[in-house]
């Protein structure tokens, strides 16, 4: 029997809110299955079980209270064990305000190796239709779990909207936030004159503002820690991408838009492959020493609409063929922007890659995401006069940079790493 604690889903997480239980008491849980949805300061995260077993008892119910990392949320029995029947005198699950333990156990740290198998990639989400007001749907059968986004569930609970009465307009009929709010808006409009409105919840704009503020606080804490604790060194090099871009153009020209790749995928794969050669840049600084990771899980910096960013992991990026890497990246970006990431994606990144080239900058010297050991940056792909074989010719080039922890590696190895990235990009067909 083990307690399921509120996990620490990244260096910048100190608290979380329980949005919903995906599993019910008595249900079996396979390792890696989503057990609950947690709201952090940065995103809603689907938390996966670290081990198989049976959800015996929930200790905390979903609510608005912020819980410290390490708060026991549930009890999970050993795999194969039957869930005990609740005894007559057994206390019900605590409401969140009573959930903070007197002496919280140490929080489960972000695992240094994947605690769960990499999630099976979902197919890219289908483009949802525009948010027309949701059409009332026939009631779902009792006990049927309705497909709805975590934020839609949460909003529905706040507004007292019964999800079973909605027809979702999201991918595969998933109920999304707009569906809930459109129905709630209609209900408000129908309220008879003179009847007092319930206590006004925060408006969508206020909620968004509050969420942005929380995200900035979380980013601020992690970045300040990084600059305070990590002695960064920075390197940069200009890489000739002409061959890679030509290869990609040729690849894409033969395929429909649904199967095309972005050049960023070549960069990611080159970084992942180069990290196999220079493992001292791939891992974590913990307990006073570098702990190198066995796998290469690239944290991909993804800017969120409305501000802020997350850097979820692309698992085993070094082992994936380019088309599969593209598919997973597309899925990851889509889910990051829909606030639908998984806990393993939030905790497993062993290094971070960021690209600001699309915003016009030629180089980015980033801040390492603690406790990682390095961050690789890419700028804009630009056409420059380039000398090759004694002749000047226009070439497409990109500036690649490395921010690395000087406690774990030296500039010499960092330079060799960037050189390896360059070398790998000269043979894109082998990536």
């Amino acid at each position: 029997m083990a307690e399921f604690l509120l996990p620490k889903l990244g260096a910048d997480m100190s608290r979380g809110r329980l949005v919903e239980w995906v599993k019910k008491p008595g249900e079996r849980i396979a390792r890696g299955e989503v057990i609950a949805v947690i709201e952090t300061d940065k995103a809603n995260v689907e938390v996966e079980a670290f081990e198989s077993g049976t959800l015996e008892k929930v200790l905390v119910e979903p609510g608005d209270e912020w819980l410290p990392v390490g708060t026991p949320l549930a009890v999970i029995g050993a795999a194969g064990a039957e869930a005990p029947a609740p005894s007559a005198g057994e206390k019900p699950a605590r409401k969140p305000e009573a959930a903070v333990p007197a002496a919280a156990k140490p929080a489960p740290e972000a695992p240094r190796v994947p605690a769960v198998p990499p999630p099976k990639p979902k197919p890219p989400s289908k483009a949802p239709p525009p948010h027309a007001p949701a059409v009332p749907a026939p009631r779902a059968a009792e006990g049927t779990r309705l497909p709805a986004s975590p934020v839609a569930r949460r909003r529905a609970a706040e507004l007292g909207v019964d999800l079973a009465t909605l027809r979702g307009t999201g991918p595969d009929g998933r109920i999304v936030l707009a569906d809930v709010e459109s129905v709630a808006g209609a209900a408000v409009a129908k309220r008879p004159a003179g009847r007092p409105a319930p206590a006004a919840p925060l408006t969508a704009a206020e909620k968004a503002q509050e969420k942005r503020a929380r995200m900035r606080e979380a980013i601020a804490a992690a970045m300040a820690r990084s600059k305070r604790e990590i002695p960064h060194y920075y390197l940069g090099t200009t890489i000739d991408l002409t061959r890679a871009m030509a290869w990609l153009a040729s690849y894409n020209a033969e395929r429909p838009v649904t199967e095309r790749m972005l050049y960023g995928v070549l960069l990611l794969k080159a970084v992942a492959a180069a990290l196999r050669e220079y493992p001292e840049l791939n891992g974590f600084w913990t307990e006073g020493r570098a702990q190198l990771a066995d796998s290469v899980h690239l944290g991909v910096a993804i800017s969120l609409r409305g501000g802020g960013l997350v850097a979820p992991a692309l698992h085993d990026a070094d082992k994936l063929a380019l088309p599969e890497l593209m598919r997973r990246l597309q899925d990851l970006v889509t889910r990051a922007r829909a606030s639908s990431l998984r806990s393993s994606e939030m905790t497993d990144a062993t290094v971070t890659v960021t690209s600001l080239g699309e915003r016009g900058v030629e180089a980015v010297y980033g801040v390492i995401y603690p406790p990682q050991l390095a961050l690789v940056g890419f700028g804009k792909v630009v056409t420059r006069p380039w000398v090759a074989d004694g002749e000047v010719a226009p070439r497409e080039v990109v500036t690649a940079t490395l921010s690395a922890d000087h406690r774990a590696s030296d500039g010499h190895r960092g330079a060799l790493f960037l050189d390896a990235v360059d070398r790998l990009l000269q043979e894109p067909e082998k990536l």
């Binding site: 483009a127 525009p130 153009a249 020209a253 609409r305 597309q330």
Partner: protein, 83 residues
């Protein structure tokens, strides 16, 4: 298919990648990347949406033609008309 019908579908595909889009406020000649803060992944997902909505493929060489709402509607109208 009329241009207005095409425009409605184009806006639907845009809203899928930029949910905050308010269709009435989008100037027909505005650069979509700048106006909606669209990056290359959003742009690719938008083009996939267009491709599915209209049953057309969009060669990579044509991407640069698709920078504004007006341009996209005109492009799609020409492609749909040719089928």
């Amino acid at each position: 298919m009329t241009n207005e019908e095409i425009k409605t579908k184009v806006l639907a595909a845009l809203a899928a990648v930029a949910p905050e889009l308010e269709p009435g406020t989008l100037a027909p000649g505005a650069n979509l990347r700048d106006e909606l803060d669209i990056d290359s992944m959003d742009a690719l997902n938008f083009l996939v949406g267009l491709s599915k909505a209209f049953g057309i493929d969009i060669p990579e060489a044509d991407y640069r033609k698709l920078s504004t709402l007006d341009a996209i509607v005109g492009y799609v109208a020409a492609r749909v008309g040719k089928r």
